[in-house]
């Protein structure tokens, strides 16, 4: 499949401050991409460049073969057929829900417009609220109206700027699954921006981790979690600690917990000093193991315990342990490594 959206070597700066730094990614039609990063990393600026609200300094943006942005030239926002769901929804307060959704359909015939509005309100579960005003709705309902409004004109690309950040946690996880289903049903290509990793993983086919205007990795959520390309990505995605080790073979690394061999070769020379990433689910509790670590603190999560364990060297590792293994703080417990991928970075 060829790329539908091509974001090619794009840079953007506010006066002297570089906000987006030679960033590239592509998206296939119908896919949902997500830019993940802490606030100020430039992810919202990328959306604004895509929407046509910001000019770019270098590179190009192409959608369906059409060039949208070049330095010094850009297709105006209203001519891009790119929809956007804003962080604060930006619903039009003087219009009813129905009129908000119909707003982008001014060129459609009346009958088609009414049909489209009705089917979208139905899709987002707000049938019957067409005559309400935005201020009469709850936050979650307003969010759905914003989505319906943006989807109504069948945009070629939909942008979602932190769409769930104003909602409470329960609603957030429910809506993110729902929105993904709706986007897939409408076969909409979309880009989502968030700082919430769970949201990114729940919604997106491809996730990009951004830091200081740079895209560090652009990959499927699974790859991102299990094969992070850099230490920053490994740290940013999920929990984990780094343990020093020495490469002992093509796919083997020796650490203070013992030697571990992965299925995939590591790109290091034998004898090289590295740091190995240990996710909480990589560290298994095993009473039979001779490797011991002392329970330093624990958090009960219902289905499991989240232990922080101190190794004999004083270094700490995290472990997720089934909740019937309840050990008091201070007790040494046996541990063993269980990994599919060995993730290591050169020691610094």
């Amino acid at each position: 499949m060829s790329a539908f959206l091509e974001f090619d070597q794009v840079s953007h700066a506010y006066s002297q401050q570089t906000v987006v730094d030679t960033m590239s990614f592509t998206l296939v039609e119908g896919e949902i991409g997500c830019l993940l990063g802490s606030s100020g990393c430039g992810k919202t600026t990328v959306l604004r460049c895509l929407a046509g609200f910001e000019p770019i300094r270098a590179g190009s943006i192409r959608l369906a073969g059409q060039t949208l942005s070049l330095p010094g030239h850009q297709v105006p926002a209203h001519a891009r057929q790119i929809g956007m769901v804003f962080q604060d929804y930006a619903l039009f307060p003087h219009l009813t829900v129905g009129d908000n959704v119909a707003f982008g359909l001014r060129r459609w015939s009346r009958a088609e417009r009414l049909r489209r509005v009705a089917s979208l309100l139905d899709l987002v579960g707000l049938a019957g609220l067409a005559r309400s005003y935005p201020h009469e709705l709850s936050g979650g309902q307003q969010q759905r109206v914003a989505l319906a409004r943006a989807l109504a004109p069948r945009p070629r690309l939909l942008l979602l700027d932190e769409p769930f950040s104003n909602l409470d946690v329960d609603l957030r996880s429910r809506l993110s699954a729902e929105v993904r289903a709706i986007l897939k049903q409408e076969n909409t290509t979309a880009i989502l921006v968030t700082h919430d990793q769970h949201e990114a993983f729940a919604m997106a086919d491809r996730v990009g981790v951004m830091q200081a205007g740079r895209l560090l990795q652009w990959a499927a959520p699974y790859t991102l979690y299990h094969q992070p390309a850099s230490r920053f990505v490994a740290d940013f995605i999920g929990q984990g600690v780094f343990l020093p080790g020495v490469v002992t073979g093509p796919a083997c690394i020796e650490t203070e917990i013992g030697e571990f061999c992965g299925a995939v070769p590591v790109p290091f020379d034998v004898g090289q000093r590295v740091e190995v990433l240990l996710r909480p689910d990589d560290v298994q509790h095993d009473d039979a193991s001779s490797r011991k670590a002392v329970v330093e603190s624990k958090v009960f999560r219902g289905s499991e315990f989240h232990y922080t364990l101190a190794l004999p060297s004083g270094r700490r590792v995290l472990a997720e342990v089934p909740s019937h293994h309840d050990h008091p703080v201070g007790e040494p417990i046996g541990i063993r490594l269980e990994m599919d991928h060995l993730i290591a970075f050169p020691a610094h």
């Binding site: 209203h78 943006a150 004109p153």
Partner: protein, 221 residues
């Protein structure tokens, strides 16, 4: 004091009031429309346009209204003569109307500008993302919201204009105050007629202000 002559004079005074109200309504409508364009000019990213609009507003806010009325009374016929080459009689009403529209537009422009700036930038972007041009975004999204917010201020300004229309006295237009004054002079009862006129201005302005305050409270909720 003898107010008995007021009642027979009412039809004539009513005619004066019609002139006052006609002038008021037309000046408000024209002033708001012109003021809106000036406000859009001031908010424009085009430096020339915004500079021009700013100069307009500052100029008209820095000179007395009476001067504008007299000046337009003299200048409008001259200007038309210069443009058309003919001598066109303009009349006090038309020249006063133009004077009020242009003068008030400077004040309305500032109200409209504040109203537009009070609408969040996201609303314009939302309209752009739905395929609207700048003009459509203004007309369909920003101005409807802005006018709703600034309606009390626009009305308050219009009540002041209602009182200021009496300045047309200077060019001899027979508005309400001028009618009352001339009637009082003819009948030798200037005090009674001026007191009556003052009472009418007070009642109308006070009631209008009260209604605007009520409206303001309703719009806040």
């Amino acid at each position: 004091m003898d107010f008995s002559q007021i009642v027979p004079a009412l039809p004539a005074l009513m005619e004066g009031m019609v002139v006052t109200l006609k002038l008021l309504v037309m000046a408000v409508l024209g002033g708001v429309v012109l003021g809106t364009f000036i406000a859009l000019g001031r908010l424009s990213s085009n430096a020339f346009l915004s500079g021009l609009a700013k100069a307009y507003v500052n100029y008209f806010r820095s000179i007395p209204l009476l001067l504008v009325i007299i000046w337009f009374y003299l200048a409008v016929p001259m200007l038309l003569n210069w443009i058309t080459g003919d001598f066109v009689p303009v009349g006090a009403f038309a020249s006063c109307l133009v004077a009020f529209m242009m003068f008030e537009a400077a004040y309305y422009a500032e109200i409209v500008r504040a109203g537009i700036q009070a609408i969040s930038r996201g609303q314009v972007n939302a309209a752009y993302a739905l395929g609207m041009t700048y003009g459509q975004a203004m007309r369909l999204v920003i101005l409807p919201q802005a006018f709703r917010k600034m309606l009390p201020l626009l009305l308050q300004q219009s009540i002041i204009l209602f009182q200021d229309t009496s300045l047309v006295y200077a060019v001899g237009l027979m508005d309400f105050l001028n009618s009352a004054r001339s009637r009082g002079d003819i009948l030798g009862q200037p005090h009674e007629f001026l007191i009556f006129a003052g009472a009418v201005y007070f009642v109308i302005s006070y009631c209008a202000s009260y209604i605007v305050k009520r409206l303001q409270k309703r719009l806040v909720v």
